[in-house]
């Protein structure tokens, strides 16, 4: 195995072009596990740790450009207002040590359905900045996940950053595991209200071959909110609407039985999480003026 250590982003792109099968490694929290367990032995490892700009983020206008290697700890500490759903998801990633090393780029590169960031990314909406020596393209997050641990990257492309919409409404993230910390998701759910667009977006993790959105549930809820004028009135959400939304989220999943849980439990749990997170986000929306939203979408811990 050859260990490539580019000193700059340009060198990294050149190396990836020369060795398209090279596996990029940043925090190493996923790749090193694979290597330690001998699940894969790539010819080349492409170390991205010398490239400082991958660890940076910038907030401009209505988007956050989040470097691929910004560790989850930084997201929790600095981007809670802009990316509340992703910050909540970051809280659930492994242990403090791993959160100090791992970043969203790794979750996207691995594209495991169990990656904790995915439901929040899908719900929040955004684009993946994929770069190669041929140029840069922005892949909508909705088009990024292609199959079990497969993504839309070309072999010569590296993830530079993700471009995420700043939250315009409350966001929530909820994950079921069989322990109270440091656990791989049995299933997970992300929800974001987008009052500016009068839309709702969702993300489901660990309950289908890829992370997915529950689009039927989203459309139903957006329509129900519109019809009742609830975006404007900020009125109470009818329980029947929440129940229907939960059922549709549950139905959107395509889970399996495995050592972590059963398919039927996953469907059930997704319904519960959908109903609860909708309740939390909607109550927050009701109780909040638009400009206050930034401060309020914090977890209590």
């Amino acid at each position: 195995m050859e260990f490539l250590r580019p000193a700059s982003w340009e060198e990294a792109l050149a190396a990836k072009a020369e060795h398209p099968s090279a596996v990029p490694i940043a925090g190493g929290t996923d790749v090193m596990v694979e290597i330690n367990f001998d699940h894969r032995r790539p010819e080349h490892l492409l170390d991205l740790n010398r490239i400082a700009e991958l660890q940076e983020w910038e907030v401009a206008g209505d988007t956050v450009r989040l470097g691929a290697s910004v560790p989850y700890t930084k997201i929790m500490e600095h981007l809670r207002a802009e990316l509340p759903g992703l910050a909540l998801a970051s809280h659930t990633v492994a242990s403090p040590q791993i959160r100090n090393r791992g970043g969203v780029g790794g979750n996207l590169g691995t594209a495991s359905p169990a990656g904790d960031a995915h439901p929040a990314l899908l719900a929040g909406g955004g684009e993946v900045e994929a770069v190669s020596v041929r140029g840069t393209r922005l892949i909508p997050i909705d088009d990024f996940y292609k199959g079990v641990k497969r993504n839309a990257l070309e072999p010569d492309e590296l993830i530079r950053a993700v471009h995420l919409k700043k939250a315009t409404g409350p966001q929530q993230f909820s994950k079921v595991g069989t322990r109270n910390a440091m656990v791989i998701a049995v299933c997970a759910f992300g929800l974001a209200l987008h009052p500016d667009a009068r839309t709702v977006r969702t993300g489901i993790g660990s309950a289908a071959p890829t992370p997915i959105r529950a689009t039927t549930a989203e459309e139903f809820l957006a329509a129900a909110l519109d019809e009742a004028g609830l975006w404007e009135s900020r009125g109470v959400l009818p329980p029947a609407v929440a129940r229907q939304f939960a059922d549709l989220v549950s139905g959107a999943a395509n889970p399996i039985d495995d050592v972590r849980g059963t398919a039927s439990y996953r469907r059930h749990a997704l319904g519960v999480m959908a109903r609860r997170t909708l309740g939390w986000t909607w109550e927050q929306y009701r109780g909040t003026e638009q400009d206050e939203l930034d401060d309020r979408s914090k977890p209590c811990a």
Binding site: L88, T178, R179, N180, A181, Y265, A269, M273, R276
Partner: protein
């Protein structure tokens, strides 16, 4: 020098604590919470574990393991592996040097390397030594093994079917004659009174079937060690283990070496919990070292560790309890089927424990009990903290709650009405002849104030998710959360039982260095984290009146200390240290009398003690400094210490004084259950335990909290999942074998009782295991209380609570 007779042992065993031991003014003696010498090193990551061993010239050993659970080995081709650059040796069964090719704790049924057949997933088949671990691993991957699959037996039905394939053919071990089927390792019935007749008197009869999952010891430091070939043709083995001399007894014959040429030294042990009682890499590393003439290190990674040691027996248990309307148990019938997996390991002794402790700490005159362990093609199971008593406690405590509910009695009140006490006769016919404060322990946990309701609420009505089921996974802010409270109490034996000659050896040297009397304590006790090294120094200070005590590294240059298991080390090797210290003290006083006896009549007439570096009378008068007495003389003694003998259980009736001592703990669990998602937060797990005498109170509390947490783990998350069709392990990693994190660990208030057992050194009671017993059923009871569900299986999984 090595005086292995023990003339004083019998008197000192039964001696009750005296002013000599309890009133000592020497600092750092027993009863103080002196700090452990390895504590800070371990917390800061500087402690040297066996996996840190290093030799300039060493090779790395690697073990190739079976990928299937049960198969004939048609052929093994090692040629390509041997031809790999950097490879020094590849060994299979055919390379074993002597006729001894098996090992085992009690039954020598475990092949050092598989011969013609593999019997479980992960069984060692071949060994490689290479100059780099990666080279060894790659070379091993080039070994071609042709397997022909055999049918697997995985449970009682498949193991004892008339046409069942035999896991071990041609058994001739000492249990083979009395078991009803060759796929049963050992079976122990216990019959006392007439359970059928008593059942007729019962106003209520409650039956239940219970399933206990396979728990892993999950010690932090994977199996590892270093074997260094010696110039004399022998080998020096540095290893993390639980019992050096038991390893030695099994290793030497396979190597064809006399025991004195296999020199073992304990290396840094990262926990054990029973998982290091069986051999793992010991013989393998020695074989490779002797073959290559080079030091060989073997370190398992976590994945391999799951295959490298035995686990806790999974069990199926059937119970029938009867009681009269006034809340008195009439009888208990039970049947406990333990899955021992492919090799016997400690299964026979686990069966003995499960049977003899199967009804719990209760008075029941009429019982019909049966416990057995199966041979199957599942992973081998053996010793783990609690050792057969854990599975039984989970079931009998569930039954006690059911009977109480049936009678409309409070579950604690019902237990107290039936609680055993000193003088109660066990189902084995053995009277309990030391304090058994079962009712009092229950009273103590029950009388503790409950943690406040809705303890997750913080100012402003928000929720602290860390205090809720799901924790930071943010699954509830209080929705669906219901509190439950549950109780349990258990009984565990201490020490090796059933007639085993259980002894410990201690060598103690006293001499003067730089004008100060100092002591050195040398034992072969495996310090696996239990704190024995701390306690040995405390005992030596107490008995010898010195400040400086050196604990010699544990090795086989001194007699056996027995196993660091069965809650026995403080009792046994602690007892041996005290015993030897007393003999050393006598020698010192003899020297003193010889030198100074004529100067003061007290030398002849008073009871003399060693305190604060001086010989003092029991009246407190100092007669001489110990340094003055000893001058350049050293007193150096090595003595064995035994607990009182026990008896085997009768094979038909189970009668016999089989146990040395009993240990009792009770728990109250308070849980919050998210009833919609099936997630559990254990909020508090209060424990009360009788420890006889706390030699180091801080360590005692640590042991109780650790045992409690291990019991919690198997209640709500810990299970090795074995595929019922292939008998392969599905979750051999910490990704999917979950153990409690600090966020899963509740507040554990501990109430320590010290009711002396007059038969034991200092009156102490072995403490390490009892808290692991009652913790699990208390948590289960609390979850039942919250959900109203029956819950007959542990660990609980979310889908068990949601019904989905």
């Amino acid at each position: 020098m090595a005086d292995t007779t023990s003339p004083r042992a019998s008197s000192s065993v039964t001696r009750t604590p005296t002013s000599l031991t309890q009133g000592s003014t020497t600092k750092g003696g027993i009863g103080e919470s002196t700090l452990r010498p390895d504590g800070i090193l371990k917390v800061t990551g500087e402690f040297a574990y066996s996996s840190d061993l290093w030799h300039e010239d060493m090779l790395w050993g690697y073990t190739l393991r079976s990928t299937v659970a049960h198969a004939e080995i048609r052929s093994i081709d090692t040629s390509e592996a041997l031809a790999t650059s950097g490879v020094y040796a590849v060994l299979t069964y055919d390379d074993l040097p002597t006729e001894v090719k098996n090992y085992g704790l009690e039954i020598q049924d475990t092949p050092v390397l598989a011969h013609g057949k593999v019997r479980h997933h992960g069984e060692p088949v071949a060994l490689v030594a290479a100059d780099h671990p990666e080279t060894a691993r790659r070379a091993a991957a080039k070994i071609r093994i042709e397997y022909a699959d055999l049918p697997v037996v995985t449970d009682e039905a498949s193991a004892t079917a008339p046409d069942a394939i035999l896991v071990h053919e041609g058994r001739d071990d000492h249990h083979s004659g009395h078991v009803p089927h060759p796929n049963i390792v050992h079976r122990q019935p216990i019959v006392r009174g007439d359970a059928d007749a008593a059942a007729a008197r019962a106003d209520v009869v409650v039956r239940g079937e219970y399933v206990f999952g396979m728990q892993d010891q999950a010690f932090l430091g994977p199996e590892s060690g270093l074997a260094v070939p010696g110039e004399d043709g022998g080998v020096d083995l540095y290893v993390a283990t639980q019992w050096l001399h038991s390893d030695l007894r099994q290793i030497a014959p396979v190597l064809g070496l006399p025991e004195k040429k296999v020199r073992m030294t304990l290396s840094g042990v990262g926990g054990a919990f029973g998982g290091r009682e069986d051999l793992s890499m010991q013989i393998h590393a020695c074989l490779l070292a002797l073959r290559t003439g080079k030091p060989v290190k073997i370190v398992y990674n976590r994945f391999e560790s799951f295959f490298g040691h035995v686990h806790r027996h999974p069990a199926k248990l059937w119970y029938e309890h009867g009681a009269t309307r006034d809340g008195k148990l009439t009888h208990v019938k039970c049947r406990i089927v333990l899955d021992g997996g492919a090799y016997a390991s400690a299964s026979p002794a686990v069966v003995g424990n499960a049977a003899s402790l199967s009804i719990g700490p209760y008075v029941v005159e009429d019982v019909a009990i049966e416990a057995l362990a199966l041979y199957t093609n599942n992973p081998p199971c053996g010793a783990m903290r609690g050792f057969g008593a854990v599975q039984a406690c989970f079931a009998y405590e569930a039954q006690m709650d059911k009977v109480a509910a049936e009678l409309g009695l409070d579950p604690v009140e019902f237990r107290q009405r039936n609680a055993m006490e000193q003088g109660t006769v066990m189902p084995t016919g053995q009277p309990v002849d030391s304090p058994a404060p079962v009712a009092e322990l229950l009273r103590r946990v029950k009388s503790r104030p409950l943690p406040p309701e809705r303890q997750w609420e913080v100012a402003g009505g928000a929720a602290d998710v860390r205090a809720l089921p799901g924790g930071l996974s943010n699954t509830t802010h209080g929705e669906g959360v219901v509190r439950g409270v549950g109780y349990a109490v258990g009984i565990k034996n201490v020490g090796f039982s059933e007639g085993f000659d259980d002894y410990s050896t201690a060598r103690v040297r006293m001499e003067v260095i730089n004008g100060e009397a100092v002591a050195t304590v040398h034992t072969a006790m495996a310090e696996v984290g239990q704190g024995g090294v701390t306690v040995h120094a405390q005992i030596a200070r107490t008995e010898l009146g010195v400040t400086q005590v050196t604990i010699h590294p544990a090795d086989t240059q001194v007699g056996s200390a027995g196993s660091t298991s069965a809650s026995r080390q403080t009792y046994m090797t602690g007892g041996a240290v005290r015993n030897t210290c007393e003999a050393v003290r006598e020698k010192v006083l003899e020297i003193g009398r010889r030198k100074f006896g004529t100067y003061h009549p007290a030398w002849a007439t008073a009871e003399l003690l060693l305190e604060g570096g001086k010989v003092v009378t029991d009246g407190g008068e100092a007669l001489a400094g110990i340094a003055e007495v000893l001058e350049d003389e050293a007193v150096d003694l090595e003595l064995e210490f035994r607990h009182r003998p026990t008896q085997a259980f009768d094979l038909r009736t189970g009668q016999g004084n089989g146990h040395v001592q009993y240990s009792f703990a009770a728990h109250r669990a308070v849980v919050e259950v998210d009833t919609e998602l099936g997630l559990v937060k254990v909020v508090e797990l209060a424990c009360a335990q009788d420890v006889g005498k706390a030699l180091n109170p801080l360590s005692v509390v640590g042991q109780i909290q650790g045992g409690t947490t291990q019991g919690l783990g198997v209640a709500v998350m810990e299970e090795i999942v074995v595929d019922p069709v292939t008998a392969k392990v599905r979750n051999p990693s910490f990704t999917d074998y979950l153990i409690p994190t600090i966020l899963d660990t509740p507040t554990i208030p501990v109430d320590v009782l010290e009711l002396a057992d007059e038969h034991a050194p200092y009156g102490l009671r072995g403490i390490g295991e009892a808290p692991t017993l009652s913790s699990t059923p208390a948590v289960l009871a609390a979850i039942r209380n919250a959900t109203g569900l029956e819950l007959n299986k542990t660990p609980i999984r979310p889908e068990h609570l949601t019904g989905s």
